[in-house]
């Protein structure tokens, strides 16, 4: 009985980490955009959905294989992110925060419903572009897609950290995040930097969309709504604006959800996720990694 419990516990941890890495993929972009604009980009979850649809279009209509599809999806969502920023957010840069938030909600509704109109609300399924190999370790089960998602999230996190810390554009991003006016005075093209941030963040969401679409084998226009909110929770949990924080927050959230579903009841899964968020906010509003890492983008 005891070993049965341990076995289930470990399996739940695996489930949780794989779910959490999906949240982390979306949370990375969320946290970047928040870091630079202090904007809760509610449309981010829908950019993720857009990525999934572009990937679906590439694989099923254009018959592309996995790698080109994911690249096209990343480019597509990067462009979409830049357009959204240019059209909806840039004119609002000096507007009250809440007005920008409403705009973001508006953009989110727009993307969801435009997709319903053009692609129908029916769920779509990916053709088998890369099939899942299931690995058994004793009675534990993990499949290759879960590993791919987790590895992608880690690689992207490291790449992002590198870009933000060591490249020129990354330095510019940090400067804009720290003090936009001062950055402008130093000759940094703020519009360009913000545009790039959106491109990068949205591309990550796009990649996430394709991976998740393949993993669950089902995409639909509203698929970004709940993961979007959860990813934001993950970003706040880890300390919003902090890249490793998004990763950590995502994984913690995923594990908590899996453990609650497995050992208490799946009905309280979401409530537990939000409750943890509120507790963290009350005792450490800057997030788990908030204090240690001061640089924010």
């Amino acid at each position: 009985m005891d070993s049965g419990f341990m076995h289930q516990f470990v399996q739940q941890l695996i489930n949780g980490v794989s779910l959490g890495s999906i949240y982390a993929l979306i949370a990375l972009g969320y946290t970047m955009i928040y870091g630079i604009l202090k904007l809760i980009n509610f449309a981010h979850g829908d950019v993720y959905m857009l990525g999934a649809y572009i990937g679906f279009f590439c694989t099923s209509m254009l018959k592309l294989s996995f790698l080109p599809s994911i690249i096209v999806a990343m480019v597509g969502t990067a462009l979409a992110g830049m357009i959204i920023e240019r059209v909806a957010y840039r004119p609002m840069r000096n507007a009250p925060r809440i007005a920008i938030l409403i705009t973001a909600i508006g953009v989110s509704f727009f993307l969801e419903n435009a997709m319903i109109l053009f692609a129908s609300p029916q769920p779509r399924t990916f053709p088998a572009v890369f099939s899942a190999t299931v690995y058994h370790f004793g009675a534990l089960v993990i499949n290759s897609q879960q590993i791919v998602i987790l590895v992608s999230a880690i690689v992207l996190m490291i790449a992002l950290t590198y870009i933000v810390n060591y490249t020129k554009i990354g330095k510019a991003m940090r400067a804009v995040s720290f003090d936009a006016d001062a950055a402008r005075l130093m000759g940094i093209n703020i519009d360009f930097v913000i545009s790039m941030t959106f491109a990068l963040g949205s591309a990550l969401a796009g990649a996430g969309g394709v991976l998740v679409g393949i993993y669950y084998n089902s995409i639909e226009p509203l698929m970004g709504m709940v993961p979007g909110i959860k990813a934001f929770v993950a970003a706040v949990l880890g300390g919003i604006g902090i890249i490793p924080g998004a990763m950590m927050g995502g994984i913690i959230l995923g594990v908590v959800e899996a453990l609650v579903s497995g050992f208490i009841s799946s009905t309280f899964r979401d409530a537990a996720a939000f409750a943890i968020l509120i507790i963290i906010l009350l005792y450490k509003p800057q997030g788990l990694l908030g204090k240690n890492v001061r640089e924010k983008v």
Partner: protein, 315 residues
Amino acid sequence: MNSLRKADLKAFVAAAVIFAVIYGLLQAEVIGAFWELNLVLIGINIILATSLNMINGYTGQFSIGHAGFLAVGAYVGAIMTVKLGFNMAVALIAGTAAAGLLGFLVGLPTLRLNGDYLAIATLGLGEIIRICILNIDYVGGAAGLMGIPRLTSFPLVFWIMVAILFFIKNFKNSAHGRACLAIRENEIAADTMGIDTTKYKVMAFTLGAAFAGTAGVLFSHYFFIAHPASFTFMRSFDILTMVVLGGLGSMTGSVTGAIVLTFISAALADFPQWRMIIYSLTMIILMLYRPQGLFGSKELSMQLFRSLKIGGKKQ
């Protein structure tokens, strides 16, 4: 003081006239049942928007979990009438009190947070409330609480709405209201001036939640059902949009926002696929061109207000 009362009297007369006109049209069946339903919805949305405006507009606290309090009111009210057999008055009082109490309990710890953190915390609370309801079999769980009698009528909604508007207007002009405005303008400065910021923040939050509860009772007793899917964060966003559209901090703005958005949504009912697209574009475009909302934080003057309201609601 005297002039204030005169203005109140005028506003009351105006409200009575509006009521008489709409009620007359309803009785004469010029306005059909579909638009009657939407008039009721407008009334409920006005209560929701103005109550959220107390929190977000007057006190400057960023709350986006209003649907949770709406849900509490809807369910508690329905329990009173369906399960315990009380009348509507008891339901209204119980729903209002329950939502207010919850607002107080929730507000006390969370209002320490500010800005986006408070926003996300209230969003989470709204969802927690909904999920808890989902898991209570006594109120029907995910299937919703059914068999609620239709005890809400247009006159009831209208006069409760007027009473709440009157209360909120007076609240804003009272010492408490001024304290709330001071918190919005600068919390630290308000604190230094000797204002008990926590007290006033919690007060505004509790009152806002209580009125949302009232709206909830009216809501569930009009639509026969209290269903958890009606109280998701999408509903909270809807209410927030009404407030911001009208102008954060403007009561008349919230009223207008509620009317306009409910109208647009109803008018587009014939084009289901386009409805949400047009709705969302309206939101984006209005924010782009008028980020402070239709009225900013200003109120319409009584004179303008009256001519506008008569013109706007008569259809």
